[in-house]
């Protein structure tokens, strides 16, 4: 933290993120770690909409936006071009996308980029639904969450599918580095960004970013919810080197996991869940940790 005051801001204020958006915290800190010699490709999504309202831009580094599905392909193209021109040395190539642009729409391009082994660090900013288009469910939305396309009612508990384990799927591509991080643990986040950038070849970072607008929580609760997600065990901070997903290294293990209700009850998207439903989520989290601790 001590360096914070002196570092140059590479994601300028004046961007149009909602008040309390955790993506702002994530992008600012990631770019501070990456430094100015970075080129980024961005997918359509919250981040693109709020940061590049023409004729302005919040970015202080070169950024390319092409389409929703191809941030990974564009980044791969930039990386190959730099390599062929002999100008790759000392330049980071990154891709930023939301969960919609990663879990669903951009998955094919991402998988291809990982498989071809481009030296790109791909960052997925996960707010667990299509937030900028009006909170539609995504394959990243957790079970039970209310969204505009998974509304709870007499026949529905909200989202009916579990969350896709995307970071593990990326690690299973046998890439040199994959990790999960979140905004409450900035040191851990920056440390993982550094490792990802220093790794030769593709790296994937799954960054968990609470969304006051879509999750229906107070704008001042974003960091608190990010912390609670980790402390309750709902979101696990881990890293996997060389695709070794059988030996995930958990980088922060809560001493005693808090009950998931503490995390769920702060968000109105889970407001309709009964004690039984919360128990079901608790059980799933417990089972996940049993497997991790095996």
């Amino acid at each position: 933290m001590s360096r914070q005051g002196e570092e140059r801001e590479l994601f300028a204020p004046g961007h149009r993120m909602c008040a309390g958006c955790a993506e702002g915290i994530a992008v600012r800190n990631i770019l501070k770690e990456a430094g100015p010699h970075t080129i980024a490709a961005i997918a359509t999504g919250c981040l693109e909409v709020v940061s590049t309202a023409y004729p302005q831009t919040a970015w202080e580094i070169p950024v390319i936006h092409a389409a929703f599905e191809n941030a990974a392909s564009v980044a791969a193209g930039v990386e190959v071009a730099l390599r062929e021109l002999g100008r790759k040395e000392g330049v980071n190539v990154m891709a930023f996308a939301g969960d919609g642009g990663t879990f669903d729409i951009g998955f094919q391009a991402l998988s291809g980029m990982l498989e071809r082994g481009h030296d790109v660090t791909y960052v997925c900013l996960d707010n667990e639904a299509y937030m900028n288009t009006g909170i539609q469910r995504c394959s990243s939305t957790p079970w039970g969450a209310s969204t505009t396309t998974s509304p709870p009612g007499s026949c529905s508990k909200g989202e009916s599918q579990p969350k896709k384990p995307l970071a593990a799927i990326c690690a299973a591509h046998d890439i040199p580095y994959a990790a999960t991080a979140t905004v409450a643990y900035i040191k851990d986040l920056r440390c993982k960004v550094r490792k990802a950038l220093d790794t030769e070849g593709p790296a994937f970072l799954h960054v968990f970013t609470p969304c006051p607008t879509g999750w229906r929580h107070g704008s001042d609760d974003s960091v608190e919810l990010s912390r609670l997600a980790v402390e309750t065990g709902v979101f696990v901070l881990w890293e996997a080197v060389d695709g070794d997903i059988c030996n995930l290294k958990v980088t922060y293990k809560p001493k005693k996991r808090k009950p998931v209700a503490e995390y769920l009850k702060k968000q109105r998207r889970f407001g309709h869940l009964t004690d039984e439903d919360i128990q079901r989520i608790q059980q799933e989290v417990d089972e996940k940790w049993e497997k991790l601790e095996d």
Binding site: M1, S2, Q4, G5, E9, F11, A12, P13, G14, H15, R16, M17, C18, A19, G20, C21, A22, E23, G24, I25, R28, N29, S51, T52, A53, Y54, P55, Q56, T57, A58, W59, E60, I61, V183, I186, P212, G218, S219, D220, D221, S222, V223, E224
Partner: protein, 89 residues
């Protein structure tokens, strides 16, 4: 905006130009820093989604041109040196 000329490929050559757009007007709550209490740990600076906080000589200062009043700084401050006050005209 009708006079706005769009460059080929909508290329934007003005990095950080979002600073022209002041988001401070969105605010309903205004943070106030207690200079005596602040220990300059700079956690608020790291956690501010808008990059509106900077280090001052012996505390931190919040740029009200950009602060949207989300309140994360006040909530995360370990010594409770920031309070949120109702924004009044």
């Amino acid at each position: 905006m009708s006079s706005l000329k769009i460059t080929i490929g909508a290329v934007n050559t003005r990095p950080g130009s979002s600073r022209e757009y002041k988001t401070g007007g969105w605010r309903t709550m205004r943070p106030q820093v207690d200079v005596e209490k602040c220990i300059q740990c700079l956690q608020c600076l790291a956690y501010c989604p808008d990059g509106a906080i900077s280090k001052s000589e012996n505390a931190v200062q919040i740029d009200l041109d950009y602060c949207k009043g989300c309140g994360i700084c006040a909530k995360e401050c370990p010594v409770k040196a920031i309070v949120m006050l109702k924004e009044e005209k």
